[in-house]
Each structure stands twice: as structure tokens, then as C-alpha cells.
């Protein structure tokens, strides 16, 4: 793949031949471990972990809808696997954030209101047709890959450890999205048209991913200012889109402020579905 860059940045971390789901061979970092660890995040670091967790959780929720509906059996498995990875990242980030407030991952996932969520609008966007889902994956997975790679150097050891596991998985998500973008962009006139349509409806939510917020002043070396990732993201996605013969549409940028508790209209429906059973039985264990 001409668009695939060889990434050597991970070579210094762990065994590159190890399973993607392990931090080091034989040592997986599980959300259950994080939930009982002694190191509790500062308020700022917890808020940061919450943001990363919310993005992954809502994306997982969206992607999981594809299971049993994919264009091929192989895609049911692939999208299901990606959803499962994202859910795993969400569980780790939320378990960590929850420590700061004496809560659990499930308290945060099931018992927060819409405006308490901090997910970016891009991950809240509906799946649409397969091309929309792939384009959303391309946009988000390149972003997450850059972000998690930088976060390997986070001064917050737990965040760095979660990202060490997540970055390897997100690398596969990125590859999956790139492969499909090429196939759909170059495949048939219909598929190319569908991809152009996908870009038009998703591009308004791209800028929000790179907005800095006051939180970053408190985070110091624990976090990464998203604005610093923009140039690398542009370069990478432009290369893929050029190979796929797709042009970035001239759309504007939506005023979206998911990080500030202003979710999209979709969020109420997403949460209504996700939370319904847990809220019917408050205090129950499952």
C-alpha cells in the first residue's frame, strides 16, 4: 500500500510481535485492573480520560449496530471487532476517570445525562450507508492513531498504558478504513459518488476534533493539544484521499461543542437505547 507509512515509533515500546491486545507479552491491561488500581487521576486528568472514553464509547455503540448487517460476513466480523476494540478502550478510560469521583465505568456510561457526555460530534454521526461509516472511520482512526501515539509519552502513566494497548488496535482500524476508502473511491462510479456524499455530510465535524479547550492548560504533559495533530492528520488523510481519487468537499465547519456538554441531536437517541435497561433496574448488578 503506497498510502501506508511504516511506523517505527512503536518499536521502542514492548514487543512489536506481541498480540495487539497486550501491553507487553503476557500482560494485558484490563479495565478491571484499572478499576482497582491505587493511582487515582487528578480532576483534570480524569476529565481528559472521560473525553477519550466518551469518544470511544459512542463510536463503539454506533459501530456495533453493523453486526449482522454488513455487506459481507467478513465485514460483520471486521466492524464488530473494531467496535469491540473501541469499547475496550472506552472501558479503560472510563474506569480510570471514574476513580477520581468514586464511581464505576457503568455509572459513567449508563447514569450520565446527555449534556454530561463529552464525545465529539463526529462519533455521534449516524452510520448511514457503508461508505459513511468507512469515511467516519477514516477520519476518526487517523486522528486516534496520531493522538494515542503522542499519548504514549503522557506523564499520566495510566493514560500512557491504555494508549499503548489502544494504539496498536487503532492502527488496524486505520488500515481497514484506508483499504475500504481505496476500494470505494476507485471501485465503481456509484461507490465513488457515495464516498463523495459521505465526505460532504461528515466534513463539517472535522474541525471540532482539533479544537483546544481550557482543560489543556491544566493537563500539562498528561495530554496532547489536539491542534498540534492537525498538520499530520491533514497530510495523512490527504495522501489517502489522493490515492482514492477523492477530493475534500468545500463544506463549512459546524459549530459543534461536544466537549462542552453540547451534544448533537443524535445523542439523546443513542443514550436512550444504550441506557434503557440499566436505568430500568437502578442498583442492579448484571
Amino acid at each position: 500500500m503506497s498510502t501506508q507509512k511504516t511506523d517505527h515509533s512503536l518499536d521502542s515500546f514492548g514487543d512489536s510481535s506481541a498480540s495487539a491486545t497486550r501491553v507487553t507479552p503476557g500482560n494485558a491491561l484490563r479495565p478491571e485492573d484499572i478499576a482497582i488500581q491505587k493511582a487515582v487521576p487528578s480532576e483534570a486528568n480524569a476529565q481528559y480520560a472521560l473525553r477519550l472514553g466518551d469518544d470511544a464509547l459512542i463510536l463503539a455503540q454506533r459501530l456495533s449496530h453493523w453486526i449482522s448487517r454488513g455487506p459481507e460476513l467478513e465485514e460483520d466480523i471486521a466492524l464488530g471487532n473494531i467496535a469491540l476494540d473501541q469499547l475496550g478502550h472506552a472501558r479503560s478510560f472510563l474506569s480510570y476517570a471514574a476513580l477520581a469521583w468514586d464511581k464505576t465505568e457503568d455509572d459513567l456510561a449508563y447514569f450520565r445525562e446527555e449534556e454530561e457526555f463529552t464525545a465529539l460530534h463526529i462519533v455521534q454521526q449516524p452510520n448511514g450507508h457503508f461508505g459513511v461509516t468507512i469515511m467516519r472511520q477514516l477520519i476518526v482512526s487517523i486522528f486516534q492513531h496520531l493522538l494515542y501515539t503522542e499519548l504514549l509519552k503522557s506523564s499520566d502513566e495510566t493514560i500512557a498504558a491504555i494508549c499503548a494497548k489502544a494504539v496498536k488496535e487503532v492502527d488496524y482500524h486505520r488500515d481497514h478504513a484506508i483499504q475500504w476508502t481505496l476500494r470505494l473511491g476507485l471501485g465503481t462510479e456509484e461507490s465513488a459518488e457515495k464516498m463523495r456524499h459521505a465526505m460532504e455530510i461528515l466534513w463539517p465535524y472535522v474541525d471540532e476534533m482539533f479544537k483546544d479547550e481550557p482543560l489543556y492548560d491544566e493537563l500539562g504533559d498528561a495530554g496532547v493539544r489536539p491542534s498540534t495533530l492537525r498538520a499530520a492528520w491533514d497530510e495523512e488523510i490527504n495522501a489517502v484521499l489522493a490515492d482514492a481519487e477523492l477530493e475534500i468537499p468545500k463544506t463549512g465547519s459546524a459549530m459543534s461543542f461536544g466537549r462542552q456538554g453540547q451534544p448533537s441531536e443524535h445523542m439523546g437517541f443513542i443514550l436512550a437505547e444504550m441506557q434503557v435497561l440499566a436505568r430500568k433496574h437502578p442498583g442492579a448488578t448484571w
Binding site: 460483520d76 472506552a90 457503508f130
Partner: protein
Amino acid sequence: MAAQNESGGKLSAVLSPEEQAGKDRFEAIIAEDSRIEPRDWMPEAYRKTLTRQISQHAHSEIIGMQPEANWITRAPSLKRKAILMAKVQDEAGHGLYLYSAAETLGTGRDELNDQLLTGRAKYSSIFNYPARSWADMGAIGWLVDGAAIANQVPLCRASFGPYGRAMVRVCKEESFHQRQGFEILLELSQGSEAQKKMAQEAINRFYAPSLMMFGPPDDDSPNSKQSMEWKIKRFSNDELRQRFVGMIAEQVKVLGLTLPDPELRFDEETGQWIHMDLDWEEFKAVIFGNGPLNAQRMERRREAHRDGAWVREAAAAYAAKMARKTEVA
């Protein structure tokens, strides 16, 4: 091909010397309980029976994803959501293995898929029952996967190699699923009154359909005898059914719940478990398309196939373009 088609049937008397040698070898392999492999000679009826059985099994895995996918987005904890997602993914994987095993018999996956979508092929009728509550995720795992395992463990020794080998891996994952299902019910049975009620109702709904998964009673199962002679099948439907019911009769005690079967008992004399009469009219009605959800399950599969057509076309067009490029270069 014509000669081969007829070779397993009435015209077997006119076998060519090569075919006769193949037939002798086939019979010897079956007799010594060894394995038939795809390139070996086999009677056409053996090929047909296996293609039907393996592809039905594959279709069941694929349709069986739907009742569980129905709860992924609403799973009541993130851990349960992750487990359920992994399980449904396993099922897609089983479908793929099994389609591959069926393909070794000479029918391609596209054709097998077409048989499913046009209603020419069947799938396990249990998946035409709705998964109404979260507890159904437990009952499906414990009872439906449990019955599947009871059926499938002997199939690991099926005379056709690719099928037997696929079943080894399928069974390992299925037994994991069954434990997960049991764990869901156990958690519910130790929870609130509402949770206990949910668990009991799920067992009540899935008990009889899961017993019917073993197929009709032995005296009404026309294909069983031949399958046993070919060592595809090792135990009769009724044998497997009573073995399974005995297992769950013990396990349900751990849950502190009950099976909805007033006639269930162990008969000391015969050493068999006796269960209530099952409604075979309902079973037939579901098989013939009149179960609660046959129409919905089929439409979901057709819809996914229809909606994905442009994606598959694009992938094929891209592959052709790349192949041309390689040729030119």
C-alpha cells in the same frame, strides 16, 4: 459428471473400474472409522447430505447472530456488552468456517448464500423465536448453545474431515458461550425480584424450543439412519435430547430456578430422562416459515445483502483494476 452424479444412486451397478475402486475405498474408510477428505471419492448422496447439513449449520450461525445482536446496543453493563459482541463475532466466524467446509464439497459460498436468501435452504428454527429480554441472552447461551454443543460434540468425529475439524474449534467456543449464558442467568437469579422473574421467564420460553433443536423423534426422522451408517451422526435425536435434558435438570438447581416441565424425571429402569411431549406441530410450522420471526429474520438478511451489493461490486471492480495494473506493469 453425469456418471458421478448417478454413482451413489440406483445406477451404482454400472460403476467404472475407477469408481468401483473409489467406492470400495470409501466403504473401507467408513468401516474403519477413519476420515473422508474432499478429494476422495464419495457417493453423491453423501456429498449432498453433508452439503445440506453443513450449510444449514452455517446459515444457523448467521441467522443466529440476529437475536443476540438485538441486545448489543442495550446490554446493561459495558462488560456484558463486550462479552456479547465477542460472542456474536464468534458466530460469524463459525459461519465462515462452515461455509468453507461446505465449499470443499463443491458448492460455492455465493450459491449457498443464495439458497438461504431464496428460502431453499433451512436454518435452525430456534432462531425464529424472539429475544425479548436481556435474560434471553442467558437462556440462549445456556439452553440453545448447550443443545448445540450436545449435538455438535459427536460431530467432531464426523466421517468427513473438514466438517469434523471445523466442529472442534466451534465446540470450544460454543462451550465458552454456554458458560457465559449460564453466568448471565446466575447473576440474574441472585439479583432483584424483577431480575429473577426475567430469568425464569426466559427459561420458560426457551426450554421447549431448545429440546426441539435435536430434531424430530427417532421414529419420525427419515434421514437419521443413513447419516448414522455414514458415521456423520453418532447418536439418535432422542438419545441426545434426553442426555441434554438430564444435564440442564441438574444445572437449573444451581440457578434456583425451574424448568417448565412437570413430567421431567429420571427413569431408573431405562436409565433415561423422561420429558414432556413436545409440540411437533409447532416445530413443523416454524420450519415451514410460520414461526414468530421467520419473515423478520429473512428480511434482515436480504436487506443486508441488498444494501451491501454496491460495496461488493466496488470491491470486485477495484480488484479487477489492480489486476490489470499488475498485468500492464
